[in-house]
């Protein structure tokens, strides 16, 4: 069912469009993602908690929703913005239309607006907090109030919303040789778990509140720090615990938020990027092997350039803006990556990065 809907940004710019999905107000930081395929994976990526996603590709919903491609059980994004909303999907795996899914997941969508214009605003002025709301249920004033109450993404811990509360053991791998991995869940994407398991990971998924001591007691072969939403700097306790874990001499591998947490544990600094990296076409330069990977990216924070550090190496950089994409420890088996080697959506060529984790655990 279509309805009248509005998008209001914190700077007062607004767009009127056609609403789809669940009729409620959605408030969050408005970001844009330039991937052409993979809206199902993007929507179900827990890292988008607290954000509203603008899809720059103008047809969204074409392949509906299937039962295999979710990255988590729920949609964490607070809303979606598209140019053309497709309510007539066609794909052999499609089980549900995007609209049915949004209603089920209680997510609002605004369509039929100039998404390119919006993207350029976000690009030029930086990400903005915004609200999508059905105009028959909400006034602009109410929306403005909600935007103000949302505050800034920087002071909030969104990982609480999307991480596991109690530890659990992920499906056992079928491999002969298995590795015990403690995966700290800040909002982990399902495909990371799938890959770790496929490569022989016997994974204990644990909440962010876990202590180094508890991890040690599990006697893992390796520690994995997951991706997740929001600003890493608010995760004071996990950073402290990761610092302690680094004393254990167990291989540690971090992706995205996990990479930022490890960087903070190395006492590096974190910067907020103007509009972040969200897409599936970003070139990342592997400095050691001098090859370029096309990667999936989703982050609004980046590790700042370190000063005179001999203990760590920068291993990867973005060829778009030269920002740091990968860091490893000089001596210890710690390494981390900003982009998403697990893809989903996006190119899978960087999956090779997981290999190293297993080699380190095997060493």
């Amino acid at each position: 069912m279509k309805f009248d809907v509005k998008l209001l940004l914190e700077n007062g710019i607004s767009f009127e469009g056609i609403g789809f999905g669940y009729q409620k107000i959605g408030v969050g930081e408005v970001v844009f993602n330039t991937a052409i395929t993979g809206y199902q994976e993007i929507l179900t990526d827990p890292s988008y908690d607290g954000q509203i996603i603008t899809f720059t590709y103008p047809h969204i919903g074409n392949t509906g929703i299937n039962f295999e491609d979710n990255e988590s059980k729920q949609v964490s994004a607070r809303g979606m913005i598209v140019k053309n909303f497709c309510d007539f999907p066609s794909n052999w795996r499609s089980k549900q239309s995007l609209e049915e899914f949004l209603i089920e997941q209680k997510v609002i969508c605004i369509s039929d607006i100039d998404t390119r214009h919006l993207t350029k605003i976000l690009r030029d002025e930086g990400c903005k907090v915004g609200a999508i709301y059905p105009t028959k249920n909400f006034t602009d004033e109410e929306a403005k109030f909600e935007i103000e109450s949302f505050g800034s993404i920087e002071d909030q811990d969104f990982t609480e919303n999307v991480s596991v509360k109690e530890p659990y053991n992920y499906d056992k791998p079928k491999n002969k040789r298995t590795f015990k991995i403690v995966a700290i869940d800040f909002g982990i994407k399902e495909n990371i778990l799938r890959i770790l398991q496929r490569m022989g990971g016997d994974i204990e998924v644990v909440p962010p509140s876990i202590s180094a001591e508890e991890v040690q007691n599990m006697k893992p072969d390796g520690i994995f720090l997951s991706n997740g939403p929001g600003d890493p700097q608010v995760l004071v306790n996990p950073i402290k615990e990761v610092k302690k874990m680094m004393q254990l001499d167990i291989p540690i591998f971090g992706i995205c938020l996990g990479h930022q947490i490890m960087s903070l544990a190395y006492d590096l600094e974190i910067e907020k990027m103007p509009f972040g990296h969200h897409g599936a076409n970003h070139p990342v330069h592997d400095l050691k092997n001098n090859v370029v990977f096309i990667t999936s990216q989703n982050h609004n924070f980046a590790v700042a350039e370190p000063n005179n550090r001999n203990d760590i190496n920068i291993t990867h950089r973005s060829l778009f803006d030269n920002s740091i994409q990968g860091i490893e420890h000089n001596e210890k088996p710690f390494y981390s990556i900003q982009c998403h080697p697990e893809a989903s959506p996006g190119p899978k060529e960087f999956e090779t990065l997981f290999k190293r984790f297993f080699e380190d655990m095997n060493a």
Partner: protein, 1066 residues
């Protein structure tokens, strides 16, 4: 890794003439490659026989050879130029095949020429179906169940395994020539036999039929560090069964989830690596079972292609340029992405925020004998592309770019035609299948019924259905009911003013006025390869109905150049060449140039060529919106052929200035009555003519004029439906079957000048002075369409005095006609008298050829004159005289159309042209024939059968042939004409005279050359099997007596004595 320093000079192989399956996309890619390599300090040697290309302009390469693209010529050029490397991937299948020949014959090794971009092994792996299949098996990728046949026996064996229907593809043929789908045993045998004949390796691939599967294409680029990127994915709207060149396609793919897309991406990279494409661009084609997602690899091309040109235009990522630089050692991360002003590297994957639709353009109406159904063999002659912010908008914009009179999904089925006819159209696709899909929805067919009949993916069907629902709501409305919001909802879906007007039953002008009143106008968005993630100042733009307008209007003096739209027979690359020249000239003069065009294959739609490129339909509505926004000095219409010229009236009416020759002159030249009186003060006769509005009037007219006559509908392009008529019976036949004669559609009947010599004259005029560009003599006599006639520069059988008089007169005509820019005149010479056939105050098809001959760009001169320069100011007074002979020869698509009689006539049928140059007419003609892919036999049996009017020339021709060592075989009638001479003739039966007859002799390989001229419909029909058999068995055949004499001249010169000179050295 930086570029290779060990290479100094690189040979680039062009693709030769425009043919079906190989069009001006290779001019676009080749030009990019030449420029990129030269900019990097390499000496570039170029070989291409096609003079109508930008790449063969002398500024583009260091040494340009307009010579036949075959290994023999290339060997000579390699010996002379000693290049360090050869780049075989820019010249389409031709470039690849010729390079492979050079490698196989050891020529490259002998001269230490390295093949870069793709090596022999990679080409072999990709092109040889058996090897390709093996590679795919190793990669555990599925290919269709299939088998290879080298004989008919093999073929029957495979048939037993895979059954029918099945797809048959001969190896190493272009655009799938000779391939097809067999649904029954008869077709199976026919296609296999034909394919075995056409394949240079006598090899067929017989595949299980995947008809109805979804089809996708991935455009891949790889560098020598093994960095791979996908530039673009393309989805075919037409499912498997239609050649991808003939399919409506969409970029990016619309109906793939990320998982499926990534599966194709990974498979594409694996394939490039396994096939061995070390650097450069390739495309990989996949089929996907819509039921279960099963993925099957169809083929890959280890070179830039038509689809890579489309992908480049669709994304703004210049694949050919990048591929050329990767071939000399650069890696992707070392190259900059031009469109973001170098802010990002080339090592990324373009992402787009719009939808691109390509629609192929066909010319079936010119080949009425052939079956106009689409199959796995490509038959389209051109294409359009359009960009929109949704599929519907881009599709409807593409529809009106086609210039076939359709401005939307108008009804193409007569009301009387039933659902049976509709069902047939849906299941056996022709060029208008989507219109029939629309019709089915209009008639209330259920969604599933439509899907079951055509198997087009439901996503696309839904889009079409929705458009029809929108159309239906308009039928209920009056123009006044259409408020701003409602109107916008239509415009956002791409509905044209014209289509909406016809549904609302108002005129297009009324519709436009209403829209303007409501202030509903499009905005313009940039193509930037990154979905606005990075700032770009590149002015590559398209229109859409949205909020923000990104087209910033400058305060500069600016001029709009209108392109020529889709390639079609009669209007091809020659006009794009002229448009590009105009853009370059304007930029040289410091004027901002705005290009509008809809053809993705062209150089003119390279965003580098103009200051601003609008990729838009060239129709009133879209052009007006651009002009409204840009407010240019004026519009230039004289370079793009009929497409822009047609709009001249509309421009005038709406106060838009047409630069150059005033439109009143265009009118004078085109209006027969006005032209007649205009011409009265010059020394030209006109062939007597009449206009008939009924069949009766036509008969009376012919009686007055006397046979033979040329008949044609009054306003036509490329001689459409033009015919030479010799008898009452032919006339009656023409009037009843070929055209609907009426007051609105009158017929022009003209006395045919039998045996006249035809001349083409191009002239540049500044209003005061005129400069003769050159006079070309047609080799075929009058009556053959000028575009299909070979021609010689300078004329080879017209006296200097006569030419002098003619030139003077033509200059006077140009001045009197107030021509500012280019003018072309066609003149027939008979018995020492000049007959003016027509005058076109615009760029003609011969401009690029002539410009290459005289080494001066006539289109550029004309452009500067349009800006107000005079010939005097440009220092141009005297005509440039040629130093050698050049012959332009047309190239025909007869081998793509089964059952078509390969005979020449007043209706144009050629798709492209080649140029041959030499010290003598004979050498130039011989080279042109070679360039056109013909091999003139040096000796053997010549079969001659000529019409009565040619018989007086026969003894002379035959004597010359005998002197060259040929034996003459003739029909009884023709042999009679040689009685009384000492010429020895063997007679042979005509087909109707009983067996063994001439076709038997052709099949038995007893005939080496054919000279066959006919007149009259019946005689032509009776002898068609001779020409068709000759075509199918590669027997050299000419259908004019003057062609016969030209052959003799060329043989007298002998190919041994040919010399090869680059344009720059002469």
């Amino acid at each position: 890794m930086p570029k290779r320093e060990d290479l100094k000079s690189i040979l680039i192989v062009g693709s030769g003439p425009i043919i079906i399956g190989q069009a001006c996309e290779f001019d676009y890619s080749g030009t990019q490659a030449c420029k990129a390599l030269r900019d990097n300090g390499y000496r570039v040697i170029l070989v291409n026989s096609n003079p109508a290309t930008i790449m063969t302009d002398p500024e583009i390469a260091d040494a340009t050879y307009i010579e036949p693209v075959n290994w023999q010529t290339l060997e000579k050029i390699i010996e002379k130029e000693k290049p360090d490397a050869i780049l075989p991937t820019m010249g389409g299948q031709t470039g690849l095949n010729v390079s492979l020949d050079l490698a196989t014959r050891g020529i490259l090794e002998k001269h230490s020429v390295e093949m870069i971009g793709a090596n022999k092994e990679a080409i072999d792996n990709a092109e040889d179906r058996e090897k390709f299949d093996k590679c795919m098996k190793e990669l555990k990728l599925e290919t269709p169940r299939s088998g290879f046949a080298h004989s008919m026996e093999d073929a029957w064996e495979i048939y037993k395994e895979i059954g029918l229907p099945c797809v048959i593809r001969p190896s190493f043929t272009l655009g799938g020539t000779g391939g097809g789908i067999a649904y029954n045993l008869k077709e199976f045998e026919e296609i296999c036999m034909n394919g075995l004949k056409l394949s240079p390796t006598k090899e067929l691939l017989i595949d299980e039929s995947l008809v109805g599967w979804k089809e996708f294409e991935m455009e891949v680029v790889r560098d020598r560090n093994d960095n791979c990127i996908i530039v673009c994915s393309i989805e075919n709207v037409d499912p498997m069964g239609v050649h991808t060149g003939d399919s409506i396609t969409v970029a990016p793919a619309q109906t793939l989830t990320d998982k499926e897309y990534q599966e194709m991406r990974d498979a594409s990279f694996k394939i490039l690596r396994r096939i061995g494409v070390e650097t450069g661009g390739s495309n990989v084609q996949f089929a996907q079972n819509p039921e279960d997602g099963r993925l099957v690899v169809i083929e890959m091309n280890p070179r830039v292609s038509r689809s890579s040109a489309l992908a480049s235009k669709a994304t703004g990522f210049p694949i050919a340029k990048v591929a050329a630089l990767l071939a000399v050692g650069y890696t992707l991360d070392e190259l900059k992405n031009d469109i973001t002003d170098g802010k990002t590297p080339a090592s990324f994957e373009p992402t787009i925020d719009y939808v691109v639709t390509k629609i192929p353009r066909f010319n079936f109406e010119k080949f009425p004998e052939t079956d106009p159904r689409l199959t796995t063999q490509m038959k389209s002659v051109g294409e359009v592309m359009a960009i929109g912010r949704n599929f519907q908008e881009s599709f409807q914009k593409a529809v009106r770019s086609m210039e076939n009179g359709l401005f939307g999904l108008s009804s193409v089925l007569k009301d009387s035609e039933g659902n049976g006819a509709l069902k047939l159209e849906l299941s056996t696709p022709g060029e208008k299948r989507l219109w029939y899909v629309a019709e089915a929805f209009r008639r209330g067919w259920s969604f599933d019924e439509v899907f079951d009949s055509c198997k087009i993916d439901k996503w696309f069907l839904h889009q079409i259905r929705e458009l029809i629902e929108y159309e239906n709501t308009l039928l209920e409305l009056d123009l006044a009911d259409l408020d701003k919001v409602k109107l916008l909802s239509f415009k956002k879906k791409g509905f044209s003013d014209a289509r909406m007007a016809s549904l609302l039953n108002v005129s297009e002008e009324q519709m436009r006025k209403h829209r303007y009143d409501l202030k509903v106008h499009p905005v313009f968005k940039r193509v930037d390869s990154c979905a606005a993630e990075f700032d770009s100042s590149t002015n590559y733009l398209y229109s859409t109905y949205e909020q923000e307008n990104e087209s910033v209007v400058s305060g500069n003096k600016k001029i709009v150049v209108l392109g020529s739209g889709p390639n079609r027979i009669g209007q091809g690359i020659e006009f794009d060449y002229c448009c590009v020249q105009a853009a370059l000239a304007f930029r040289e003069e410091g004027v901002e140039t705005i290009m509008i065009n809809s053809n993705p294959e062209t150089v003119s739609t390279d965003f580098d060529v103009s200051d601003k490129l609008y990729f838009e339909p060239i129709v009133t509505e879209d052009v007006f919106e651009i002009i409204r926004h840009e407010n240019p000095e004026g519009v230039v219409v004289q370079f793009g052929g009929q497409t822009p010229l047609k709009l001249t009236d509309e421009f005038e009416k709406n106060g838009i200035k047409v630069l150059g020759t005033p439109s009143s002159s265009i009118d004078t030249a085109e209006n027969r009555e006005k032209f007649k009186s205009f011409l009265s003060e010059f020394n030209f006769l006109q062939p007597e003519n009449r206009i008939a509005q009924t069949a009766e009037e036509a008969k009376i007219a012919v009686d007055e004029l006397g046979y033979p006559v040329i008949v044609r509908p009054s306003y036509v392009l490329g001689g459409r439906a033009m015919e030479l008529i010799y008898t009452d019976k032919d006339l009656k036949n023409y009037l009843t079957t070929m055209i609907d004669i009426s007051a609105d559609n009158p017929l022009l009947i003209e006395k045919f000048l039998d045996d006249a010599v035809e001349l083409d004259i191009d002239v540049v005029c500044d209003g005061e002075d005129a400069l003769i560009g050159g006079v070309l003599q047609h080799i075929e006599e009058a009556g053959i369409h000028s575009g299909d006639s070979s021609c010689s520069f300078p004329p080879y059988s017209v006296g200097d005095t006569q030419l002098h008089v003619l030139k003077k007169e033509i200059k006077a005509v140009a001045k009197k006609l107030d021509v500012v820019g280019l003018m072309n005149a066609q003149v027939a010479v008979k018995d020492g008298k000049f007959y003016m056939i027509e005058v076109n105050p615009r760029a003609s098809r011969t401009i690029p050829f002539l410009s290459k001959c005289i080494g001066t760009s006539l289109a550029k001169i004309a452009s500067k004159i349009i800006l107000g320069k005079t010939l005097k100011e440009l220092g141009l007074g005297a005509e440039i005289m040629p130093t050698n002979y050049a012959v332009k020869a047309p190239v025909f698509p007869f081998n793509k159309f089964r059952k078509v009689d390969p005979i020449l006539g007043p209706e144009m049928k050629s798709t492209g042209e080649v140029m041959g140059q030499g010290d003598s007419f004979g050498e130039a003609f011989g080279k042109a024939m070679r360039g056109a892919g013909e091999t003139i036999p040096k000796t053997g049996n010549v079969f001659v059968s000529v019409k009565d009017t040619d018989k007086r020339h026969l003894p002379d021709l035959c004597k010359k042939l005998i002197n060259l060592g040929f034996k003459i075989i003739a029909t009884k009638g023709t042999a009679k004409a040689l009685e009384g001479t000492d010429i020895k003739v063997k007679t042979i039966n005509k087909v109707l005279e009983g067996r063994p007859h001439i076709v038997d002799a052709i099949l038995n390989k007893e005939i080496n050359m054919i000279i066959n001229t006919t007149e009259g419909r019946q005689a032509t029909k009776d002898s068609a099997s001779i020409r068709r058999s000759a075509l199918e068995h590669s027997v050299f055949c000419t259908t004019t007596i003057s062609g016969g004499f030209a052959i003799v001249e060329s043989l007298e010169k002998g190919a041994k004595n040919w010399t090869f000179k680059s344009l720059q050295s002469s």
